[in-house]
């Protein structure tokens, strides 16, 4: 047998053993990582004064399932650990995936806090009985009533608006008015959007079902699809690029993508961001569609107190600023100033609906899209 082959086989056997060892070794703790953390904490404890010791001992962990993944988030979690001694363990994934994971894990779940974008996802988690109601004066003070669940099972953290993005050189913003008007014949072959598979489109459709009823919402989807410049494709950013490239004149997009383009290191992207304008539709009528990212404490959390502390921390002014700016979004806490990028687009009137309906109408929205020409 050749030498290299032997080493591969040896490696195989060793890694099997190692895997078993790792599995067994983890028995007394949550994860290898938190083991290390515990040791670090122990070190800190030794240095700390006696009164601190008590809190450090009780501090423990908060386990987070999140669909956010911005680099600034991590710094925020570290800051929380620094302030409270509570270690933040994180699993990042997509919202629906994490919901399914918690569903399967049931009572055994390790998750304490679930953070996800889109009120639709939050509602699904609530309907699946994954959250518990939280009574916290801090949260009630920091998060306005319209941005949290009626039963206090989830709390909004940031907001984004789904707006019209238009070519500054070809479209006069005075031509734009409402989501409804864009389905008129003068816009034929000029509109751009991503596929109806996307959650943002599903949620905006869900809001229209609430405001106009199913029939009118389906008509709108057909009208929009008929006016499209090309088949739906790509992400939101790709729609802005297509606007600048002249493929279409108006795109349906989330605000933060424009913020990202403007702040990009890529000169080509900045060029795109500067060539387009942001228009908030329905200002005279029902308001612009807004959605949120938000969080709740899981029903089967083993660290409820830490989880509440963590949510309170995230709703605080400093965290809100970091959270919103990390993705060019609007903070949920009204006391927190908007970032310069976001503030430049101006104030706007948002849809006055209970965000819960975005979740309730989600499946109907998908079926409407399937029947319409909007693939």
């Amino acid at each position: 047998m050749s030498k290299s082959l032997k080493s591969v086989l040896f490696f195989a056997v060793m890694s099997l053993l190692l895997l078993v060892a790792v599995a067994c070794g983890n028995g007394d703790s949550d994860a290898a990582e938190s083991n290390e953390q515990d040791q670090e904490d122990a070190q800190v404890e030794d240095d700390a004064t006696e009164e601190d010791e008590a809190t450090a001992e009780d501090a423990g962990v908060v386990n987070l399932y999140t669909s956010r993944h911005y680099d600034t988030d991590r710094e925020l979690y570290d800051l929380f650990t620094e302030e409270t001694g509570i270690v933040v363990n994180v699993i990042e994934g997509s919202g629906p995936e994490l919901i399914e994971r918690m569903n399967i894990e049931g009572e055994a779940t390790e998750a304490d806090v679930f953070i996800t974008a889109d009120a639709g996802n939050l509602h699904v988690a609530k309907m699946d009985d994954l959250f518990q109601p939280i009574e916290s004066e801090v949260l009630f003070n920091n998060i306005p009533e319209n941005l949290r669940d009626a039963d206090n099972q989830w709390f909004g953290l940031t907001q984004r608006a789904r707006v019209f993005v238009y070519a500054k050189d070809r479209v006069d913003p005075s031509e734009l008015s409402t989501y409804e008007a864009i389905t008129g014949p003068e816009w034929e072959g000029r509109l751009l959007a991503r596929t109806s598979e996307n959650m943002y489109n599903i949620s905006i459709m869900a809001s229209f079902i609430e405001l106009w009823g199913e029939e009118a919402a389906e008509e709108w989807a057909n009208g929009f699809a008929n006016n499209m410049a090309r088949d739906p494709q790509g992400g939101d950013t790709d729609q802005a690029r297509a606007v600048v490239a002249g493929e279409g004149d108006v795109a349906l997009m989330n605000t933060y993508y424009i913020g990202r383009l403007l702040n990009s290191e890529d000169p080509g992207d900045v060029e795109v961001g500067e060539a387009v304008g942001v228009f908030f539709p329905n200002q005279e009528t029902t308001g612009t569609h807004v959605n949120i990212s938000g969080a709740g404490v899981t029903k089967h959390s083993k660290n409820v107190e830490n989880a509440i502390k963590f949510l309170e921390f995230l709703s605080g002014e400093h965290a809100q600023q970091v959270f919103a700016e990390g993705n060019n979004e609007y903070p949920a806490n009204p006391n927190v100033p908007w970032s310069d990028t976001v503030a430049a687009w101006g104030e706007f009137k948002a849809q006055d609906i209970n965000l819960t309906v975005l979740g309730e109408n989600q499946q109907e929205a998908i079926r409407i899209f399937d029947r319409s020409g909007w693939r």
Binding site: L9, C24, N26
Partner: protein
């Protein structure tokens, strides 16, 4: 008495181990299979009415053309490389595998990033050459032909690797005889090369098809509705797991058809060394313009499938480096390599055990076993994830109960460890390793094994002393394919990761999925670098062992 004897003969350690592995693979398959026969839901009627035809049409079009193009590109490259001498041939021999290191969805984002209005190509045209392109049609790849292009350039190495491994171990005499009989180069390729390599080519093409069927990233980004997008839409959007599993069942049905076709194309004939006087094919020098044609062809494919996207990714990495680099990336590299090498090693060991068992035993069970073990590759990653996590919740429940019984509070929660993720990898990728090793077993035939057994060695001794050394090419090949596949793997890693555990692939995906392709470049480059080094290293090792 005879019956007992008979049973004893068949129930050896090989059979038992094989049975155990097959059982593990079968669980998720059965879960999906049974669901095909449950009462259809209301959503299912909706899907059937508005969507199913499109799903089937798009999926079939994409796999048909991708299979065709990867076959043409893969076989033509191997034929040129194995038979002819031309500039940089030795470099291309292994470099042409490198596109495998680029995850297809990253390739898709990269090409779209390059081709769009603010991308490198159009900005260069505008700013440097003052060419203003009015029609975006030429630059649009976010459609079905675009998806076929992406899949072709990043997946053809499957065909290339497997056929190259096969042809380089063919005896030269076959083709020399064909030449002596007056066959021209094209005639030899079509009359001798292709028929001989039939099994290897179909083996490669099947891997390509299975990869395409399982892809979610590319088709989702391009906005093409296929089975994999439909499964997620139904599961997460319509919240109808039953209907989603039905779609998965249809997908599995397509896969089984593909696998049966593969068997039929392969036929019953097997080609193994006919004599011990094995002499490999020696590449012939070619002259004049012909050698430059060969060179340009290789360069063209390599350029499109590797150099261009990598240059773009490097450019983006440099652009974003300062903001996103942190020492965390070292952890990501470590995590990726760690799980990939563990899972790949275990897969190779299992594939050897089962491969050896199914080869040495006749009858229905070994035959079925060989097919079943490759089924994991045919199930959508998400379905494997559900099955695995359900299984581990149950296991954790039992261990907790046992720990309680013994009054110990050190129950192992396997879900918080890498065991769960590794198990899923094994179920998913066993097919890749197994196919490579099975092909290796087929090639060495029985004569050496029989000789060894005839001289009094046990099966186990023969296995270690005779079979494994002859299989080393196949073992290395299988290991690389699995390793590189796991480095790129997404749905399972995303779904089953333990706390505070990320890999390069999940990191790249998070950025890319959120349309931050420039930020995704650094993690993508690291995946390509690690896989690339791996491919290069194993290539060197293989050559030295020849």
């Amino acid at each position: 008495m005879r019956l007992v004897q008979n049973a004893k003969e068949h129930l050896n350690i090989w059979a038992l181990l094989s049975l155990a592995f097959i059982f593990i693979i079968l669980i998720p398959n059965l879960l999906i299979g049974f669901n095909l026969f449950t009462e259809p839901t209301e959503n299912w009627a909706h899907i059937k009415e508005y969507l199913l035809i499109d799903y089937i049409k798009n999926t079939v079009v994409i796999i048909t053309f991708t299979a065709l193009f990867t076959m043409i590109i893969g076989t033509s490259l191997v034929w040129i490389i194995v038979n002819y001498q031309f500039p940089l041939r030795n470099f291309f021999r292994w470099a042409l595998i490198l596109p495998l290191a680029i995850p297809a969805y990253i390739g898709a984002y990269t090409y779209q990033g390059m081709l769009n209005y603010s991308g490198t190509i159009q900005t260069t045209l505008r700013n440097t050459f003052d060419i203003h392109v009015t029609s975006q049609k030429f630059f649009n790849i976010m459609n079905i032909p675009g998806a076929i292009f992406i899949f072709t350039i990043f997946l053809y190495p499957y065909v290339y690797v497997i056929m190259k491994g096969f042809l380089e171990n063919q005896s030269a005499s076959l083709f020399e005889n064909a030449r002596l009989l007056g066959g021209g180069p094209f005639k030899i390729f079509f009359r001798a090369g292709l028929p001989l390599s039939r099994a290897a080519i179909t083996g490669g093409v099947v891997l390509v098809i299975l990869e395409v069927l399982n892809d979610y990233g590319v088709v989702n980004y391009f906005g093409i509705q296929t089975f994999s997008t439909a499964i997620f839409r139904t599961w997460y959007g319509l919240r109808d797991l039953d209907a989603a599993l039905k779609l998965a069942g249809i997908l599995m049905f397509i896969v089984i058809i593909v696998l049966v076709l593969e068997r039929l194309i392969r036929g019953k004939k097997s080609y193994s060394y006919s004599s011990a006087n094995f002499r490999p094919i020696v590449a012939q020098p070619i002259e004049g313009y012909k050698k430059w044609i060969a060179f340009s062809y290789c360069l063209l494919i390599f350029g499109i499938a590797f150099i261009i996207p990598v240059l773009q990714l490097i450019y983006w990495s440099i652009m974003t480096y300062e903001r996103i680099w942190s020492s965390e990336f070292l952890t990501l590299v470590y995590n990726s390599v760690f799980v990939a090498s563990i899972a790949a090693s275990i897969i190779v060991v299992i594939a050897l055990i089962v491969g050896n068992y199914t080869r040495l035993h006749k009858g229905l069970f070994p035959k079925v076993a060989a097919r079943v073990i490759t089924l994991g590759y045919s199930i959508p990653g998400a379905a494997i994830a559900i099955a695995v996590i359900t299984l581990f919740v149950a296991i954790d429940g039992y261990t907790a109960a046992i720990a309680e019984f013994f009054n110990s509070n050190s129950a192992i929660v396997l879900r918080t460890t890498l065991v769960m993720l590794t198990s899923a990898y094994i179920i998913r990728f066993l097919a890749v390793g197994y196919n490579a090793i099975e092909a290796g077993f087929e090639k060495i035939g029985y004569s050496y094994t029989e000789a060894s057994r005839g001289l009094g060695s046990s099966t186990i001794k023969t296995f270690f002393r005779v079979d494994i050394p002859m299989l080393k090419g196949a073992i290395f090949g299988g290991f690389i394919l699995v390793f590189v596949d796991i480095l790129k793997e997404l749905p399972l890693t995303l779904f089953l990761q333990p706390f505070n555990f990320s890999t390069l692939a999940t990191q790249a995906y998070r950025y890319a999925h959120d349309e931050m392709v420039q930020e995704a470049a650094l993690a993508s480059m690291l995946i390509i670098l690690v896989s690339g080094l791996c491919i290069f290293y194993f290539h060197k090792v293989l050559d030295k062992n020849k």
